[in-house]
Structure formats: C-alpha cells, structure tokens
C-alpha cells in the first residue's frame, strides 16, 4: 500500500503524484494541511516536518526521491 502525505500547494507533491499516476501506481493521497491526525502520523513516521513524505508498504521516503521510490516499488524509472 502506498500513501502520499502532501499539501495542496506543494510543487514536489504534484510532481510525485503525477509520476505515480504515470507509472500506474495506486496510492492514497493524504492532505496534511486539512488533517491534523494524519500530519502527526506523518511526523511520527518520518521524523520530518516537511512534505512530500511517501509510505511504501511501511518504508518511508522523504521528498520526491525518484530512484528510491522506483526501487521500493520495483518499477523502472
């Protein structure tokens, strides 16, 4: 399961989500600007106060780290 923690204005979140869509990866998009519980969950999991954060089957990726995301999803970059 893939979760993307994002904010609506964040440019790198847009790029990341567009990339996942392009690759046909299903994901849950969580807007942390509207959901304090999800925000705290993101901060707990990642130790980061910044978006985007992705949770790929429990593995945390900070920012739009294309190569790491591809590696974890086992897809071609």
């Amino acid at each position: 399961m893939v979760k993307v923690y994002s904010t609506p204005t964040c440019p790198y979140c847009h790029t990341l989500k567009a990339f996942l869509k392009e690759k046909g990866v299903e994901f849950q998009d969580i807007d942390v600007s509207q959901d304090e519980k999800a925000l705290n969950e993101m901060i707990d999991k990642s130790g980061q106060m910044g978006v985007p954060v992705s949770d790929i089957d429990g593995q945390i990726v900070i920012g739009f780290d294309r190569e790491k995301i591809c590696q974890l999803l086992k897809i071609e970059c």
Partner: protein
C-alpha cells in the same frame, strides 16, 4: 551515438532551448534531474506573457506539455529530440580527438547514469537556494527548518515561526504563512524592508501576527527532535536574544548551479558563467549557457526563456560552421 546538442537543465531556459533546437532539426538530448527548477516554488507568477496570474507548478506543466510535443516519439520523427529525466550531470569534458585535425571536437557529459557525447552543449542548470550555515541549520533541516514555503507553510498551522531573509521572497513567504501560523517573526538584515512590492510591505507591517525584526542576524538554531527556538543578534546593539519558534523558513537567496563544471568555464565572482550576450557562448567554443546560471542581468522566467532560444540559435550557428 553523438548528439548535435546536449542541453542540461529543466527550467524555462533549457525547455525553450530544446524547443528551438528541435525546430532547427538538431539531434538534441535534454538531460534533467526534474522539470521546473526554482520556478516550481513560485506561488503566483504575474509577469509571464499570456497569464495574468499562474502558479509555478501550472506554468511548468504547460512548458513541459509544450516541450513534449517535440519529443522524437511523440512527433513520430518530425523532430529529433530525446528527453531524459532523473539524470544529474556530474561533469562535462572536452573530448580530445587524436589524429585527424579536421575532425570536429566533441564533449562528454557524464550523468549519474550514463556518458553522453555531443558536438555542442547548452548549460541551463539555473540556481539553487542558498542554505543557512549556522549551528543547528543542517541538523534541523526538514525538522522545523524549511526552504519551501509553498510546500510546508500549511504544516505550521497555529505554530510560531520565523522567516529568515526579508527580500521579496522572504516577504512573500511571510504572506503565505499569515494564513496558517499564529505568529511570524521576520528577521531582516537592513534597517527597513526593501523589495519591489510596496503594497505587500505595507500589508505585512500592519498585520498583527507579523513582528518585523530589523538589523538582526540569526546565529543559532536550537531544538531536540524538532526546532524549538533560535538566537538572533542585533547589528546595532550587539545584543543577543532567544525566541521560541516551531518553524524556520529560509529565503536568503540562491547560488548558480555551476559547481559541477569544476573550472571548465570562466565564471564571475558570484559563480555565474560569463557569456557573450549575443550568442550565449561561454569561454569554451561549443559550450553555451542560458538563464539564471549565467551573468545575465535579471533572473526572470521570461528572460531565461529568451536566453534559451538565443543559446539554441547560437549553437545552431556554431554547428553550421563546423
């Protein structure tokens, strides 16, 4: 395979250069880590032709859509442009040709993935944000320190934050934060707010959430797991004061992304590549540069786009005469 032209970068200068090169039927390769560059973080752009107000993300999307029409596959071979994302160019070298003196020279562009060869190069790598270099700055990056207000401002709802740097970008950051944060300190090095937007300045001065600290510099950032405070010093009184903050947004300018060239090209003391402003050629014939990475006056989207076109035409003329 040898390309006519390799373009390095993914901002307006590189995209415009690629479109012009493709239309000149040059065998072109564009290498970029990602599209957009600094433009991505533009909250609202009001000085690019054709759009009264558009976000950086949207403008980049439109640029990339436009660019991809010229892609070799998408155009079914009408144009000879290849686009490779996820590539960071690590070095450029002049390839020495032994033997035949009439043989034209080539350049090697080594990326994180592959080595590419081109007869000409356009460098359009732009600028990257300048980072704070004080105790705690590295340690707490992403842990309360943010370099992207459009990304992270909404995370600091009802929190106390500080903005470092009070130029146009810093003021804009404060404005974005007023929608979320409960209190915003603006640390300004000068005795009053400077910048282009007088209306915004007046708005910030009147905003009850905003406290402007003039003639100060940040000297330390503290925290445990996350940022909990900062220390600043007054230039006038030399006095140091600690304030409690949960977040720190940094807008202290940017530096040209020319480091990877390792002295190959002549740069000015700011690290900007020195170019001929007619053809955009650098100190090495065959290598051109465009946009914010150069010594051109005015770091603007429209100027970068114009320079990209110029550099592509410069490269076209160079190749024609080889």
């Amino acid at each position: 395979m040898i390309y006519d032209l390799i373009i390095i970068g993914g901002g307006p200068a590189a995209i415009s250069a690629a479109i012009f090169a493709a239309r000149k039927q040059l065998k072109t390769l564009l290498l970029t880590r990602e599209f957009g560059g600094q433009l991505m973080e533009g909250y609202k752009i009001e000085n690019y032709l054709g759009y009264w107000a558009i976000s950086g993300v949207e403008l980049v999307q439109k640029f990339v859509e436009h660019l991809k029409r010229f892609d070799k596959k998408a155009s079914q071979g009408d144009f000879d442009l290849e686009i490779k994302e996820g590539e960071t160019v690590l070095s450029i070298r002049l390839k020495q040709n032994e033997g035949d003196e009439r043989e034209s020279k080539n350049f090697d562009a080594q990326s994180n993935k592959e080595n590419y060869q081109g007869k000409a190069i356009i460098i359009a790598t732009g600028k990257s944000e300048r980072k704070l270099e004080i105790p705690g700055a590295k340690e707490f990056e992403g842990k309360g320190i943010s370099y992207c207000a459009t990304c992270d401002a909404p995370i600091f709802r009802d929190k106390i934050v500080a903005v470092i740097g009070a130029g146009d970008a810093g003021q804009d950051t404060v404005w974005q934060l007023t929608k979320y944060a409960s209190k915003i300190y603006l640390l300004n090095r000068y005795d009053e707010l400077r910048g282009d937007d007088k209306e915004l300045r007046e708005r910030l001065k009147k905003d009850k959430k905003v406290e402007i600290l003039n003639e100060v510099e940040i000297i330390e950032i503290s925290g445990e797991k996350f940022v909990n405070g900062l220390v600043y010093r007054s230039f006038r009184t030399k006095e140091e004061r600690k304030i409690n903050v949960n977040g720190i947004f940094v807008e202290i300018g940017s530096t040209p992304a020319s480091m990877f060239l390792e002295g190959l090209l002549r740069c000015n003391d700011k690290g900007e590549i020195i170019i001929n402003h007619d053809s955009c050629v650098t100190s090495v014939p065959g290598i051109f540069a465009a946009g914010d990475v150069t010594d051109a006056l005015g770091k603007q989207i429209i100027i970068a786009a114009g320079m990209g076109a110029k550099a592509a035409l410069g490269a076209y003329n160079y190749l024609k005469n080889q």
